[in-house]
Every structure is written in C-alpha cells, then in structure tokens.
C-alpha cells in the first residue's frame, strides 16, 4: 500500500518506529572525511528524516549493520566461554536497491554455504529494510548492467519527490506506524534507475583461464593493497578471528572477528609465514574473478551489485568497473594464446 507524507508526518512515523526499531541510514559526519574539511557519509543510527543522506552515496555500505566491523564471538575466562547477549532491539536499515540486492549475497554466505552463521542470523532475523528509491544514478553506479536496479524484497520504500515523501509499504508490522500520519494514500512505485553513466559488460565466456591474461600485470604496481575496495563493498564478507585478553585481567578476554580484505597483506598467510598471491595484481585478479565468476559458479548469480563504491574510494584511481570491462579482452587474449 502507498502512503504520502509531509516532512513533519514522516518524522512522526520515524519517531514512532524508533520506539520499536533502531533505525540505521546513511548519515553525514561533518569533518570526518580522511582529508581535512571533508565529510563522511556512512551508516549510523538516525532519529529524524533530515539525518538521512539521500543526495550522496555512502562511502561504506549498509553491510556493517548486519556484519559489524568488529564483533565479539564469545568471552572467555580461565575455565569457561560464554556467548555475548543477543541483540534485543529490531532494526530498520535504509538502503538503496543495489545494497538490498547485496543483502541477498550476504545471506548466501552467512545463512547458506553449508553452515549458518549464528551471529549474522541473530541480527538478520531482527532486521527490516527500507528502500531508498534512486531517481538518478551516481556517476560510478552500474546497477543496471548488474541487474540490481530493480528493488525486490523491501519492507517499505521511501522517495522524496517535490517535498513530499512517498512510501510503498509491504510489511503489515510497519503499516501500523504509517497509517496515522499520512496525508493521503495511493499507489506508490519506488523510483529506480534504468540507465547508468558507467556501463559494464562481463563476457559470457568468462572462465578461470582469464587468470592467465596479461591484464592483471599493471595492478602489481598501481594497487597499494590498502583494502578500501573490499571494506566499502556491500558484498565482501571476509573476516579474521582474533583473541585478545583484557589488560586488567589477562586470563579473561574475548574472541572477536574483524573485517578482512583479500587485498591486504597477510590475508592468506599461514603460521610459519607461507602464503599465496604476493603480487598485488594477483590479488586484483582473485578479487575480480570472485566478483565476476567464482561466486556465480557457486550461487548462480553475480556477486557484484554495481554500487561503484570501490571505484569511488580507490586512492589510486583503479576502476573495478574498468577492470570488469577488460575481461572480454582478457578472454580474447587467453583464447588466442591457446590457438597459437
């Protein structure tokens, strides 16, 4: 069902929802950009519609709400281990279509892939999604080519059009919060884009033989292995587990997990020091083929959702979408080599 709201009305809805939900949305952090006098947009709790940044893309994706950068797995003492208390409050996440599609990818790994992840499940079961419609694509977006531009599976949507908020509600639970504050009801179709300035073409014949192409070589020197591409990505799911002890009582502590990046040193390093993919170009190849090929082999659909954040954040101006567009050439190269 569709609802229309004035800014005051939608804020009443948000106040009401806040009673039951922690509401997460892209939020502006003034002065918190890496460079001085620049801002940062990332996910955090919001309490009013004005807190939600609609006109910019967030630097980090909403995945941190479901998969925190740091998460305690259990606490230990000398002779016992105990789980942290499960989250008690439900959550609403404001997110765009690409990021909503990314949640499906997170689910594939964390709810599927043989084992279910206990901690992800706890958060996921208590999460509802508020779609932020996209009336236009940002310059680095390529959702249309990744087929993530059309939103599916949201609980409600929100679009700001001519000073009026339009909401399409698909969840009975949320409907009750909406009805009393709407100015009118009617059909609402959330905005979505049908074309993007950045275009991407992944060749049909892409195979792991693309690893043998020379396209990866340039990244040996261009990439600095900082991991920004992975950390900003809504579909990267890797983590590392760490044990730490408390300074006041070293016999007690916690085991936690933190986000990991396949681009950063040490990702494959085993005890004793051996590891794979020392060259940064090899890491780029591993990442790109995961996003464009390996995940799909396992799950049947593309991993990359085309949000373009990796292109936005690379300090070395390495374009992931640009690299995807080289895959056709890479396949021609390796197939040509085979014929020789």
């Amino acid at each position: 069902m569709g609802y229309y709201f004035s800014p005051e009305g939608i804020n009443k809805v948000i106040s009401g929802l806040s009673e039951k939900y922690d509401i997460f949305a892209p939020k502006l952090f003034p002065g918190k950009g890496a460079f001085s006098d620049t801002d940062l947009v990332r996910y955090d709790r919001i309490s009013a519609i004005e807190d939600v940044v609609f006109h910019m893309k967030s630097r980090f994706s909403p995945k941190e709400v479901l998969l925190p950068l740091t998460q305690t797995l259990f606490y230990y003492t000398e002779d016992s281990v105990s789980e942290p208390r499960p989250p008690v409050r439900d959550r609403l996440i404001f997110l765009r279509s690409c990021d909503l599609h990314a949640v499906r990818r997170l689910d594939a790994i964390y709810l599927g892939n043989v084992f279910e992840d206990h901690y992800y499940r706890q958060l996921r079961d208590h999460t509802k999604f508020v779609l932020m419609g996209c009336s236009r694509a940002f310059s680095t977006c390529f959702c249309v080519d990744m087929e993530t531009n059309i939103p599916t599976g949201y609980d409600m949507s929100i679009d700001l059009i001519d000073g009026e908020y339009r909401v399409d509600c698909r969840s009975k639970d949320l409907e009750d919060f909406l009805v009393p504050h709407s100015t009118r009801q009617g059909e609402v179709v959330p905005c979505h884009v049908t074309e993007t300035p950045t275009r991407v073409h992944i060749p049909e014949n892409l195979s792991s033989s693309a690893a043998g192409s020379s396209i990866w070589k340039e990244y040996d020197s261009r990439c600095i292995a900082c991991g920004r591409c992975n950390f900003s990505c809504p579909t990267c799911t890797c983590f590392t587990m760490q044990d730490l002890s408390y300074t006041d009582n070293p016999k007690a502590g916690e085991r936690r997990r933190v986000w990991a990046s396949c681009m950063v040193d040490g990702f494959t390093e085993v005890a004793g020091g051996a590891g794979c993919r020392k060259a940064y170009g090899e890491r780029m190849r591993f990442k790109v083929l995961h996003k464009a090929l390996d995940f799909k082999k396992r799950n049947g659909y593309q991993m990359c959702v085309g949000c373009g954040r990796c292109d936005d954040v690379c300090p070395e101006y390495i374009s992931f979408s640009g690299c995807l567009n080289k895959l056709e050439e890479a396949m021609e190269e390796v197939n040509g080599n085979d014929k020789k």
């Binding site: 797995l73 259990f74 230990y76 281990v81 789980e83 790994i109 964390y110 892939n113 043989v114 084992f115 279910e116 992840d117 206990h118 901690y119 499940r121 706890q122 792991s208 690893a211 799911t237 890797c238 983590f239 590392t240 587990m241 760490q242 044990d243 730490l244 002890s245 070293p250 016999k251 502590g253 085991r255 997990r257 990991a260 396949c262 990702f267 494959t268 390093e269 085993v270 005890a271 004793g272 590891g275 794979c276 993919r277 090899e282 591993f286 083929l289 995961h290 090929l293 390996d294 995940f295 082999k297 396992r298």
Partner: protein
C-alpha cells in the same frame, strides 16, 4: 536458533606422543563422527585458533598431530600437560575410503602431510583385502624429522612402503631422494584401476601429481589435500577460498580433476 559453530568445546589431552622436537601427536578426548583428512580448529583462548588435521581416530579419541610453528601451536606445546584444549569441528570433507576400494592405491605424502592420510594408510594396512594393492611413498627432510615411526614399522609389514629422506647424512640406512623419485618405479597391474593420494607441501604436491599424470593416471584418479589459511572452518571467513571452492567446506581433500581448476 541454529548451533553456534564458533563456540568451542573443551577436550581433554589424553596422551602426548612426541615425534620430533617440534611435532607431537595430541590424543584428545572426542566422541562423534569423524573421518581421516578432516580437521579441527584447536585453540587456547587468548592465543587464537589453528586448523589441525585429524591424524588418527580412536574409540572416544582423536589424534591431532601438531607442528610448533606459530603463536597458537607454540602455546599448545607450552601448556599441554594435564590440560584440555578447546576444539571446534570436525570440519572439511576428509577422505572417503570407498574412493580407493578395490584400487591399486598409491599414497604419496611429504612431512606433516602424513598426518591427514595416516588414517587412510592404517585402514588399508589393517584391511589389505579392501584394495588390490597399496603403496606408500613418504618423504621427510632428514631421519630425525620422521613422524609416526611405530606406524611405519607396522605399515611396512603389510604395505609396500618407501620411506625416504631428502638428506640421509645422519643415517645412511634411509634411502635418500625426493618422493617423486620413486613414482616412475611404481608397479601397476592396470593403470586404469590405479588411485593416488598426494599430500604435502605445495611444491611436493605439484611435482608428484605431475609424475603421476606422466605415469598415465588421469586427473580423476588423483586426490590431493590442500592446506590454506583458515579462520572459521565453516565457509564464512573467506581466507581459504580458491576459485569457487572453500577448502574448509569442499576440501581439504579434492579430486585433482577439480583441484587442478582452482587458482590461488
């Protein structure tokens, strides 16, 4: 709510069998299904976890052969006496004895690579009728690096065992040479009915597989076991992924027809 795979259980150290200065087998209390080639995440909270493959399966116990190479294993060696260790697992697919039933089986193992195949070797040593023939080529760096000495003595009675060292200066009674040296000399009645398992350091596996392929075995007739960095053991953390496979879920044992397509 589903099982929380991350929370480990305590397992008592029943016995410690030293092999070398830095390699001990820890016999741990464990009741449950487990296969050779699977692994457990072994930990001492505060120091972290390490994936260790099952080197033996007993009644109410499992053997974990641990090499002292890092923070966690170092601490296990320091603290093991009279204690328990935290375990999670077993994880991974492990070896399936049926794959080698009624075959001319060759097992090529290097160094600690003997651990994951120890159960398979023991199985075919005690059930010689289950395979047409079974041969073991095991290589270690020097005589003092040899693991499972007592097992070797037993296996030698029942299987065709070649125990070789890279450097035999310390004890010239051992044959000297890499495991690959012995692959061309293997006798097969029917190469189409051969099966091979190769486990060890990456270079050793690469060259052994190459030698086996040259002998006429097909990729489908060869199994390998991969060792990769692992954190979670349950297909989440991503460290062990190669191509579209998760070593912790789909491996560590791979038929080489699949293993050969996986790129680091």
């Amino acid at each position: 709510m589903t099982k929380n795979e991350y929370v480990p259980f305590l397992s008592e150290v029943l016995e410690v069998i030293p092999h070398t200065d830095i390699e001990y087998t820890f016999r741990m209390s464990y009741v449950g299904d487990v296969r050779p080639g699977q692994f457990f995440e072994v930990s001492i909270p505060r120091y972290g976890e390490a994936p260790i493959s099952v080197s033996g399966i007993g009644n109410g116990s499992i053997d974990l052969t641990i090499r002292r190479v890092g923070k966690v294993t170092n601490e296990i060696f320091e603290q093991y006496k009279g204690t328990s260790l935290y375990l999670r697992g077993p994880y991974g697919n492990g070896f399936n004895t049926e794959d080698y039933q009624d075959k001319e089986l060759v097992i090529v193992a290097g160094g600690t690579g003997v651990s994951p195949v120890r159960g398979i070797i023991t199985y075919f040593a005690s059930h010689t009728e289950k395979a047409v023939s079974a041969a073991l080529i095991a290589g270690f760096k020097t005589p003092k690096d040899i693991l499972f000495r007592e097992d070797f003595a037993l296996w030698k009675k029942r299987l065709n065992v070649i125990l070789t060292v890279d450097d035999n200066t310390a004890d010239p009674t051992f044959p000297q040479g890499l495991v690959t040296k012995y692959i061309p000399g293997l006798e097969f009645k029917d190469i189409k009915n051969a099966a091979a398992i190769v486990v060890g350091p990456p270079a050793m596996m690469r060259f052994s597989v190459k030698a086996l392929l040259e002998r006429g075995l097909s990729e489908e007739q060869i199994w390998i076991s991969h060792e990769r960095k692992m954190c979670c053991g349950i297909g989440k953390c991503g460290h062990c992924r190669i191509g579209d496979a998760y070593v912790c879920l789909d491996g560590p044992v791979f038929n080489y027809s699949r293993g050969s397509t996986l790129l680091d």
